[in-house]
Amino acid sequence: MRFELAIDDSFFISSTQIGKIELKDLISKLKPMQKRRLSNFSKLAIGALLNLDEQLLEDEDWELVFASRHGDFHKTSELLTSLALKESVSPSGFSLSVHNAVAGMYSIFMQKKVPITAIAAGKDGLFAALTDAYIRLESKQISKVVVVLVDQSLPEQFAQYSDEQQKDYALAMVVSKVDERQGSRPHNLRFVRDQHVPHADDTAEPPVCEFAKWLDANQAQLNLSGSKQNWAIKRLN
C-alpha cells in the first residue's frame, strides 16, 4: 500500500519541552469554564490543535482524525480505582472517559460540527490516522483533514506493561492532497508500506515522536515500525 499526503502545518509538543512550554499557555485561547475540566491529556491534545495555523482552516471543509493508543488513561485508571474500592465514580470524570471525548470538546470549542474519527491502534496509530486522513481526502469533497495524535506515559501502576519509551506528547497536523501546482508546501510526503512484520522493540521511541522530529530534520527518508506495520516515508520536494 502507498499514498501521498501534504502536511500544510504541524505542531508537536513532547515531554522534553513540557516545562519549557507551559500547557496552560497552549490553551490560553479558551474561556475559563472551558479549561477547567481539561486533564493534562486533554490539554496536550487541544493545546496542539489550537496552535495550528487557523487561517489554513478558514472557509475550508475539513474533518478531524483523533488517534491515541491509551486515551486519557490517567483518568481511566482513577475511575477504575474508584470502582475497585467500591466508591462512587466521578460523573465528570466518567463523562470525559470515552475515547473521542477530547475530539468532541475541540469541536465544541471551535463551534465546528465536523465528522470525527477516533482511533486506538496501538503502536500503529500514526499509520492508521494518516491512512484514514488520506481516504477522507480522496473519497470526499473536502480539502483538509486535521490529524491529532496524543499519548502520555502510563500511570505508575501500569508501568510494568510498558513496551516503548514512555513519553507525554501530542502532534497536530493539517494535511491535504499533494498538488504540484500549488507550489511548495512545507512537506509533500510519500508513504509506502512494506510487507515485513516489525521486530518488537520495547525501548523504541513512539513512532509519532520519531515522525515529528523527522519532519523538522533534513533526512530524505524515514523508516518507521509499529507493532504490525512497517512504513517508509519519503520527501517529494
Binding site: 469554564m33 477547567r36 462512587s88 466521578s90 465528570s92
Partner: protein, 92 residues
C-alpha cells in the same frame, strides 16, 4: 457547625470538587444561583457536587425529586439542606 463555617466549607467543596481553581470562596455569593446564571454550573456539575456532598456530609440526594432542584439553587439553600439533614439524623 456554625453557620458561617459551614457556608465556607460548602464553597470550598464546590471549588474543589468542580475544579474551579480560578474562583475564590468570596466570589461565590450565598444567594446567587449556582447553575446557568450566577456561577454558571451545568448538569454534570450538579451530579459531581451531589456526589461530593454525599461523601462529605452523608446526605443522600434524590436525583429525581423536585426538592433537590431547590436545595441546589444556591449556597444558602445547600447549607440549609445539610443542616436539616444533620438535625434529622440526630433525632433518629
Amino acid at each position: 457547625m456554625a453557620h458561617a463555617e459551614l457556608n465556607l466549607a460548602v464553597k470550598k467543596l464546590i471549588i474543589e470538587s468542580l475544579d474551579l481553581e480560578d474562583i475564590s470562596p468570596e466570589e461565590i455569593i450565598d444567594d446567587e444561583p449556582l447553575f446557568i446564571d450566577g456561577l454558571g454550573l451545568d448538569s454534570i456539575d450538579a451530579l459531581e457536587l451531589g456526589l461530593a456532598i454525599k461523601k462529605q456530609y452523608g446526605v443522600k440526594i434524590d436525583a429525581n425529586s423536585e426538592g433537590t432542584k431547590q436545595h441546589f439553587a444556591s449556597v444558602s439553600s445547600l447549607c440549609a439542606f445539610i443542616v436539616n439533614h444533620e438535625i434529622a439524623q440526630d433525632c433518629m
